[in-house]
């Protein structure tokens, strides 16, 4: 036990303290070591609260373990946890992440009364007929005619958009914005997209070309990565 490896390392950086937990020991050993270390470097009562980044390396923590860490670091001692950083995430979490950021390609006609609902971006090869509805949490790309309802960003993502080869939709919905077709008879438009215009605070339909500067992070994956 004398030549015991350092399980806990604390380093000061510009943004605050970083607390490295060795990822090859057991969680209980690490907690034991942490208890000793933290009491030694605990700030005095009159000193300000210090924020700590917990770096876990290749260790996965359950929520209960995170709570345990929070208790030791921030409640008993006068630190506050800024964030947990880990190189690994849970398989389910990763799959959900992948699902949210994937483009789902679907080849069919969405007919009247049918609803096509996907997570992530939707690439529909086929038409959405009047009375049909497509819903996605990300963007919607339709290689075909959109006559029915399209709802992009159904989880509330305002940066999503709806693009179609031909569109004469009865309604476009993006997040919680809704726009409907005018009451007068109008012609459809070719190669256009619907997106939220922040200035007018409503859904507008514009040429596909505007997407290149209005929505730079077109891929759901990049978008997700940037949002963290």
């Amino acid at each position: 036990m004398l030549d015991k490896k350092q399980l806990i390392t604390i380093k000061g950086t510009r943004e605050g303290l970083s607390l490295f937990i060795d990822d090859s020991c057991s969680f209980d050993d690490a907690m034991e070591d942490l208890n000793e270390k933290i009491i030694a470097s605990r700030p005095k009562n009159d000193e300000p609260i210090v924020s700590v980044k917990v770096k876990l390396g290749n260790r996965f923590l359950y929520e209960a373990q995170k709570d345990q860490l929070r208790e030791i670091i921030s409640e008993i001692n006068r630190f506050t946890i800024h964030s947990f950083e880990s190189n690994v995430i849970h398989r389910e979490e990763a799959l959900a992440w992948k699902e949210d950021s994937e483009i789902k390609a679907v080849n069919r006609i969405v007919r009247s009364g049918q609803v096509l609902e996907v997570k992530g971006d939707l690439l529909l090869i086929g038409d959405v007929n009047p009375g049909g509805k497509v819903v996605s949490t990300g963007n919607i790309y339709i290689m075909g005619s959109l006559y029915g309802i399209a709802h992009a960003g159904s989880d509330g993502d305002l940066s999503t958009f709806i693009a179609a080869s031909f569109m004469k939709p009865s309604q476009l919905r993006i997040a919680d914005y809704i726009s409907r077709a005018p009451d007068y008879e109008s012609d459809g438009v070719y190669m256009e997209c619907g997106l939220i215009d922040e200035v007018q605070d409503k859904i507008i339909i514009d040429r596909l070309q505007v997407l290149s500067h209005k929505r730079k992070e077109i891929s759901g994956f990049e978008r997700r990565m940037q949002n963290g």
Binding site: S112, D127, N129, P130
Partner: protein
């Protein structure tokens, strides 16, 4: 082994029963053994259009509830020996028929007949499910109206879930002058939206109503436009390659003649 074709539309009043009666008659005219089944329980019409109303003794509910044999309930047509009708019940309601019962009847009829034409009730409830249950193919009837095309689209979506080949489309009640003025949806637009194969177009012809009222389907009349259209549909069902435009071309010819003679087209 015969083939069961269900005639359906979703919306009411587009001409399902008329189409069933005429396709059946046209197939019978081509020497095929045909059985018509009316599945519109409680609102039967097919027997009236075929002029066989007063011959009904047993009906489809009697067969399903085993009050009679299938053979006893079949009515032979007064014009052909090889055309029969299985009438719907007028007094029971739709729950009296089950999908299993329908399948059993149809598989029994398939041994005997070349074509079984099933007239479907309007709507998408139990009656529709029953009519579709035993069918191998489907023909969707629509008219060039928005509401009827919308319902046809819904029905096609439901039929795609069934175990049968892609349905075929009949566009009924076309008024040529309205279509020319752009007051009706174009045939091409309907086919594009529904994206299924077109098996025939039928002009809105006064003869159809006249014929229905006399209990003689219009397909018996040699020269009416609607009659030719129905017979063309029957030929296409038999696999013949009849040009779809034949009806319009004919009309076009007449109009050209009229124009030539200085009459208003």
């Amino acid at each position: 082994m015969g083939e069961a074709i269900v005639i359906t539309s979703g919306k009411g009043g587009v001409g399902k029963t008329t189409t069933s009666a005429n396709i059946g008659t046209a197939l019978a005219l081509m020497e095929k053994k045909v059985c018509l089944i009316d599945t519109d329980i409680g609102l039967r019409n097919l027997d009236v259009i075929m002029g066989l109303e007063n011959r009904i003794i047993y009906d489809i509910v009697d067969v399903i509830q085993e009050r009679c044999k299938l053979k006893q309930a079949l009515i032979k047509d007064k014009r052909f020996d090889h055309l029969s009708l299985l009438p719907a019940a007028q007094t029971s309601d739709k729950s009296a028929v089950t999908t299993e019962g329908m399948k059993k009847i149809i598989s029994e009829l398939k041994q005997e007949y070349d074509y079984i034409i099933i007239d479907c009730p309007a709507g998408i409830e139990q009656g529709f499910q029953n009519a579709v249950a035993g069918a191998d193919k489907a023909i969707v009837v629509t008219t060039p109206e928005k509401s009827s095309v919308r319902d046809a689209d819904r029905i096609i979506g439901l039929l795609e879930k069934e175990d049968m080949e892609s349905p075929k489309l009949v566009i009924n009640r076309i008024r040529n002058h309205m279509m020319k003025n752009g007051d009706m949806i174009e045939i091409d637009d309907i086919v594009q939206i529904l994206s299924i194969d077109l098996v025939g177009i039928v002009i809105d012809d006064d003869e159809v109503i006249k014929a229905s009222n006399t209990g003689e389907p219009v397909a018996f009349r040699p020269n009416s436009k609607a009659s030719i259209a129905y017979r063309n549909i029957a030929r296409r069902i038999l696999g013949e390659n009849v040009p779809l435009q034949s009806l319009e071309d004919k009309k076009g010819m007449i109009q050209k003649m009229k124009q030539f003679l200085g009459m208003r087209a």
